[in-house]
């Protein structure tokens, strides 16, 4: 009786969201997988030809795609590290008892509100004019020049801007995590004579693990899906050196009109990334429980 009751509550609590989620995300995703086995230009009235696994085998020979997958991986690693380090530092700063922290919290978060074409405009301007000026004044013109037109540095430019945009975002999650740490624990460690660094690494950081898991995964998924910033800042250039994965797929689907191939690419990359990240989430979750 009790277990039946329990099950009813389970359904009642989860079904509404699951229904909406299935309709909006899962079913379209499955339709997309279905298309991956066809050669089709993406126009409903035009013929779809079943080609089996051909799209999957041909993407392995697509050098530009492999290159783009590699660039995306590199970009993701760099920005996940940068964003989380900066975001956590911000969170620690603004939760310490300061008069300016209220205002600072708002200001550090504001970049997240600027997107799209305007973001591209501002940063192109910063890289072109402000960086050049910096280079002239400091004499470091090997470091401060227009990063966006250099195939090597354009990627760092993207990481830079993406960190600027996202650091305030993960800051919020770290703040929520820091607030969950009981004051007594921190106070106790102070009394025990722990140095600020010890307090951070031995007390705060382990207790922040749940927030860290969340932030890592969030930045990872948004770095991996990056499109807007990519488009407005470099458009994939110069010479394809910053063509991230989502842009490569978008170009394949809507640019070249290879709908099936584009979907096949999306699935392959999704499977690889999902396998890696889900293992990571699974492992860290286990560890959290044990603590």
């Amino acid at each position: 009786m009790a277990s039946k009751n329990k099950r009813r509550w389970y359904v009642l609590f989860t079904a509404p969201l699951l229904l909406i989620f299935t309709t909006v995300v899962l079913i379209p995703f499955l339709i997309g997988i279905y298309y991956a086995f066809f050669e089709w230009d993406g126009i409903a009235a035009n013929p779809k030809v079943f080609v089996g696994m051909e799209n999957f085998t041909s993407l392995l020979q697509d050098e530009r795609f492999l290159e783009s997958a590699w660039i995306t991986t590199l970009f993701t690693v760099l920005s996940v590290i940068a964003i989380n380090v900066v975001g956590l530092a911000f969170a620690l700063l603004v939760t310490s008892k300061l008069r300016t922290s209220n205002v600072a919290r708002t200001m550090l978060f504001m970049p997240y509100l600027i997107g799209g074409l305007i973001l591209g405009y501002i940063w192109q301007f910063v890289f072109l004019d402000v960086f050049a000026l910096f280079g002239e004044v400091t004499g470091l013109d090997k470091v401060f020049f227009n990063w966006l037109i250099d195939p090597q540095f354009a990627m760092y430019g993207l990481v830079f801007v993406f960190t600027w945009q996202m650091a305030g975002y993960v800051m919020i999650i770290y703040i929520a995590g820091l607030q969950g740490i009981p004051n007594e624990v921190v106070e106790a460690s102070k009394i025990d004579g722990a140095s600020p660094w010890q307090r951070f690494s031995r007390v705060t950081l382990p207790l922040l693990m749940p927030a860290l898991t969340i932030s890592l995964f969030l930045t990872l998924s948004s770095a991996f899906k990056i499109y807007d910033v990519n488009l407005s800042l470099t458009g994939g250039g110069p010479a394809n050196s910053t063509e991230m994965f989502a842009m490569n797929i978008y170009n394949e689907i809507f640019g070249s009109g290879n709908y099936g191939l584009g979907q096949a690419k999306a699935i392959v990359f999704f499977l690889i990334v999902a396998a890696i990240t889900l293992t990571q989430v699974y492992i860290t979750k286990k560890r959290e429980v044990e603590m």
């Binding site: 099950r7 359904v11 079904a15 509404p16 229904l19 409903a44 250099d150 195939p151 250039g237 640019g255």
Partner: protein
């Protein structure tokens, strides 16, 4: 038993939710479509030229006042117009009237484009300017547009850019004076898309040449027009600052302030030029590849009608286009409000800016070369040619290598 209960519960929930959604939605529909009697009383327009959205809405309002037919103009950001159109058409949410850039797009959407050949005003379209698909007219051009070299009349004389030799020495002179002789911009079409037209346009039959190129029967490297085009690009690269960090705004601003003597642009740039304070006159010259003395003139956008709509709606859409191109109000809007160089001979061009004037004159006299870009493989300009051009401008590459790489970029787009 357990299973039944569970599925029963979720079924009830599904029904409740659907009911809720239906009620909410139903009300909405009732409130927006009140007063609507038949499908032909309302048409929708989805088009890519954002600049005329405002004016088009005003024109639509005038049409509604005159005929009672409601015309809804949808919004777009231009960039992703075609993708959005594609999605709308695929999900049966297509507009009644949409815009197409060229025959490649019409071909892709061939099951959606209505035959407009029988429309009265189609015969008045300037020769070769209509959008055709298998001998049927499927698109009415917005207007004609042209591109070439926009030059500062205080700094450049037409005889300075007659051929490769004079072009090169002019650029060298400007370089010595610390003036940018020739400005391109970083955007795909302004960097390589438009300027790459010339060696194709100068072929006796550009479309035929492109199909031979696609089939691998000819290469650019062995075609004289391309060899010389490589020399032009080298002259530009050697004598001017890199265009890769120049935005369109910057390009126009530099020209308007006299920092750049010539830019490669089209008559659409006149609008932005007028926003700057300028103290010199300017005009448009042909790009002198192989001594070419004609402007490249074509059509950027065309009106098309969605053939998958119901008969009544298609007719209503045709009536609207007809009214736009034949009534006094419609003509006035095309010329004065949209600012187009009309593509119909029955529409008098109004007072034109110097660039549109040059395009209009060239178009009327027929002294033009065609836009070969409309026959390029789909999306090749942003997808393949732009990366290649960026490579050319950022790496150590000669004019000869430029042509070889051009060949490679073209082949990789196949």
């Amino acid at each position: 038993m357990k299973f039944q209960k569970k599925s029963l519960g979720s079924l009830v929930l599904v029904l409740v939710l659907l009911l809720l959604a239906a009620c909410g939605g139903g009300q909405e529909e009732g409130s927006t479509s009140s007063g609507e009697e038949g499908s032909a009383n309302k048409i929708t327009i989805f088009q890519s030229k954002v600049e005329i959205s405002d004016q088009l809405e005003a024109l639509a309002k005038e049409y509604t006042e005159e005929t009672g037919v409601e015309v809804e103009v949808l919004g777009t950001t231009g960039d992703d117009y075609f993708q959005q159109l594609q999605i709308r058409l695929n999900s049966n949410q297509g507009p009644s009237i949409f815009s197409l850039q060229h025959a490649m797009e019409a071909e892709k959407l061939k099951s959606y484009v209505a035959d407009l050949s029988a429309e009265e005003y189609v015969k008045d379209i300037a020769p070769n300017m209509e959008l055709k698909l298998e001998d049927k007219v499927v698109g009415i051009p917005y207007g004609v547009e042209g591109f070439g070299i926009i030059y500062n009349k205080d700094l450049v004389k037409p005889e300075d850019v007659q051929d490769l030799a004079s072009f090169r020495s002019t650029l060298e002179n400007f370089k010595a004076q610390d003036i940018n002789g020739f400005g391109l911009a970083q955007d795909a079409y302004f960097l390589i898309g438009h300027i790459s037209n010339y060696p194709f346009s100068l072929q006796p039959d550009p479309t035929d040449f492109i199909s031979k190129l696609n089939a691998g029967e000819v290469t650019m490297a062995q075609t004289p027009e391309f060899q010389e085009f490589g020399q032009f690009m080298e002259a530009i690269k050697v004598n001017t600052p890199t265009p890769l960090s120049v935005t369109y705004d910057q390009q126009i601003g530099d020209f308007a302030s006299g920092k750049t003597a010539m830019i490669h642009q089209g008559n659409w740039a006149a609008g932005m030029l007028q926003e700057f304070e300028m103290d010199f006159e300017y005009g448009m010259l042909p790009f002198p590849l192989m001594g070419n003395d004609k402007l490249a003139v074509g059509t950027g956008n065309n009106w098309a009608i969605n053939s998958q709509k119901e008969e009544g709606e298609i007719q209503a859409a045709k009536d609207f286009l007809n009214w736009m191109h034949t009534s006094e109000v419609g003509k006035k809007y095309i010329v004065e409000e949209f600012g187009f160089v009309p593509a119909l001979t029955t529409i008098e061009p109004g007072e034109l800016d110097p660039l549109s004037q040059a395009v209009s004159e060239a178009s009327n006299s027929g002294d033009t070369i065609p836009w070969a870009q409309n026959a390029y493989p789909a999306n090749i300009v942003p997808n393949d040619l732009t990366p290649f051009a960026q490579q050319f401008f950022s790496e150590d590459m000669t004019g000869e290598q430029f042509v070889e790489e051009f060949d490679n970029a073209w082949q990789s787009a196949q």
